[in-house]
Amino acid sequence: MSGQPGDSAYAGVTLRPGRCVAAVIRDATVVPLPRVLHGAIRPAGADEVLGAIAAAAPGDIQAVTIDLSRLLLEAVLHPAGTGRVAVIRIVPRAAMDPRLARSPAELVERLVARRFTVGGGHDLLGNELCPLDTAELARVCAHLRRAGVRGVAIVAPGSQAQPEHERAVADAVQAALPDAHISAATDFGGQGLVAREATVILDCALGAIANRLLNVWEDAIRRSGTGAALRVARGDGGYSTPSRARALPALTLGAADALELCGAAYLHGAQECRVVLPRPGGHVSGDVRHGLAVVRAAELAGIGTALVVPTAVLAPDPGVSQNGEPRWVRDVPVVHASGDPDALACVGAAVSQPTAWIDEVAFIESAEHLERIRREAEERVSAIVMANGAAPGTAYLTEASIVAVPYSPAGTVRIRVRVAGAADGGLRRAHGGVPAEPVAP
């Protein structure tokens, strides 16, 4: 794979409990590094990793993108290191059935110390269904203060359209517990109260460990003297800044799968392809379009319920037919990934771009109104991608889908927009796959 004049070196690092794997891409070529470096979640280990990266590309390292997702998933699976969370569900009426009062995912529910219901909530378009029960909210806050709770997850129906009740509850909780980590579902958007609740529970539980990890790596980058930027891989295979990842750590969940798809596609020089990944239980496959992993807000492997954080769509791979053709998908090249999955994820992290998405419900009355809503959504997500590290003017639309919401009032639409960008002096894609549709400033 030939390099581009002016390309610099970029590193990707995958963190796992007790070890990490790193890769450096320089002039579009993978520079070999020691495969496994130990102790990478402690300061000395991070120093060791960054030393090896600097040695691989002396003076040229522009950025290091770290993938926290496997470590954070491990923290969920074995939650000794995560904080337990109080959940406040704001709904017109408490669930009468125990299964409806909790998360359907046992892993998520294990992170919950106590649940509360406060009357309130809005419909999908932001109309109030029930006034916020401020008396009950005061009782809940008093209980939380007595219990010394450190993490509070808040979710309300309709908060994507009207966050008023969630914000009022968050304000009251913060006043009662100034040191608490508060996660509110309105910060994530997305569809479905249970998926949004699971996302904020995980976000809240992982806040402390994500903060510790980012402190370690920010300090190590500073000590390294390389001047490299630190970036954090997102679940959709893009990257964000450490400050965004610290504020919303759930956005980093699931990154490893998307990075693995992108890494494999990059090494094969493919912008549009299907990637087959080996897994212990059999092969799985996922798609890459415009050099980015195809993602969806769906169930994250190992969690047991849907989240609103988009992650790579992986399905069992059906293999090839008797004549050697791929069985299901035959209109794009199929890339068979090989080698260490962590190493592929590192390549994917090194070549990743800043990304952002939104998933909202809106109401349109005419074609002109639809166009305005679409443009406003693109502008919002463009602003988010800049907050995630994109240089001004580099944001471009990678996906936009507007579909009518079935059995809703005429004019109700679901809008999903995904945008990517480039950092200043960013790595050029292997085959120049940046689509040509810029987002309106």
Partner: protein
């Protein structure tokens, strides 16, 4: 396994629905109406599984297996699946809706039946039957999902949908007793949004004897049988062949979605959702342009401008990359899909059936392909 693939009755008949059947039922129900996304799948299937674990399997009975005078009531989820996902049920809405009609009519219902055995409306009656300790009828009013609650076999047979009760997750309810089915639909439509965008609907109180002639039989068993095939996640070619064998499904074409259009046809406010369209570029040598017309469900499929399928056909998209049914609120440009067509129950191709739910009801004034 609480369901029996063979046994007394007929091949494919299911005698009960237990906890182990819930995911199968869900998948089959999605095939017959792919309108609702999976955002509430985990919580609804967990709820129903929990009920069936605690209370045991729900007996599934043909209408003619019950004494003809047995009072029966239908249930469905009225409104938007997206609203249901965002405002989940408290869990008692369906049973409370049934009990409100019991009090009004001073009857005790002896069986529940689905108003529409498809999408989440196929799960809710099982949950209520479990809560109320009643059998579920292996029959429904649509055999799929249509837009309005009087688009049923019962209505065509002269059974009134009223009195009906819509019970919301807000804890509020509406009782409607209208002079005609269409008036009932209209009055109901005005109340769905204030209840949060969806409600538990109990309607069409009648007897098992009436339902022997007025409902579509075997439509719950069919969901389980179709769901079993879908859960195998087999090669789409093989899946379509198997579905063809049991329900007459066939594939119109395979291709990638290239465009969405909103407000693509004139809108009237009598039917939920607005008309929209999507365009698929067919893969392979034929390379046709497939145009899919939507209005809550897929209502028509055109290939290079020629109408090749339309309501009341059951129309759905299979996501080829994932090997599962694609839901209509989660489609994206670039998705590779198979367009599948399955004949609906024969009643819907009659003159009166087509007049009520055919293409003309969606403003498409063309002869149905099956009647040319």
């Amino acid at each position: 396994m609480s369901s029996a693939a063979t046994g007394p009755g007929y091949i494919g008949m299911v005698s009960s629905i237990g906890a182990a059947d819930v995911l199968t039922l869900y998948e089959g129900a999605k095939f017959y109406s792919p309108a609702v996304g999976d955002a509430s799948k985990a919580s609804l299937t967990s709820w129903l599984t929990g009920l069936l674990d605690r209370n045991g399997p729900v007996a599934l009975r043909r209408a003619d297996a019950l004494p003809p005078e047995t009072p029966c009531i239908s249930l469905c989820v009225l409104g938007s699946g997206a609203a249901l996902a965002d405002l989940p049920p408290a869990g008692d809405e369906f049973a409370l809706a049934v009990q409100r009609i019991e009090r009004l009519q001073r009857v005790t219902f002896g069986a529940i039946y689905p108003l529409a055995a498809a999408t989440v409306s196929a799960l809710a009656p099982v949950a209520a039957a479990s809560q109320l300790g009643l059998p579920l009828l292996d029959a429904d009013g649509m055999g799929r999902t249509f837009a309005l609650i009087h688009h049923t076999a019962m209505h065509l047979a002269g059974v009134s949908p009223t009195p009906l009760v819509a019970y919301g997750a807000t804890g509020e309810s509406v009782l409607i007793d209208a002079q005609s089915a269409s008036r009932g639909t209209r009055l109901l439509g005005a109340n769905v949004d204030p209840l949060g965008g969806w409600a538990a609907l109990a309607a069409y109180p009648t007897t098992a004897g009436v339902l022997r002639r007025a409902a579509l039989p075997g439509t719950v068993s069919r969901l389980v049988n179709v769901g079993r095939l879908l859960l195998e996640r087999t090669d789409p070619d093989r899946l379509v062949a198997r579905l063809a064998a049991i329900i007459g499904c066939h594939r119109v074409g395979r291709g990638r979605i290239v465009e969405f259009e909103q407000l693509s046809r004139p809108t009237d406010r009598t039917i939920p959702a607005h008309p929209s369209s999507l365009v698929i570029e067919e893969s392979g040598e034929r390379g046709r342009q497939l145009r899919i017309e939507l209005r809550s469900e897929i209502v028509a499929v055109f290939a290079d401008g020629l109408l090749v399928a339309g309501v009341p056909d059951v129309l759905c998209l299979l996501d080829v990359s994932r090997g599962e049914i694609a839901t209509l609120d989660s489609l994206e440009v670039g998705d590779l899909v198979d367009v599948l067509v399955t004949p609906a129950d024969g009643l819907w191709y009659s003159a009166e059936g087509l007049a009520m739910v055919g293409l003309a009801s969606h403003g498409i004034n063309l002869d149905h392909p099956r009647r040319r």
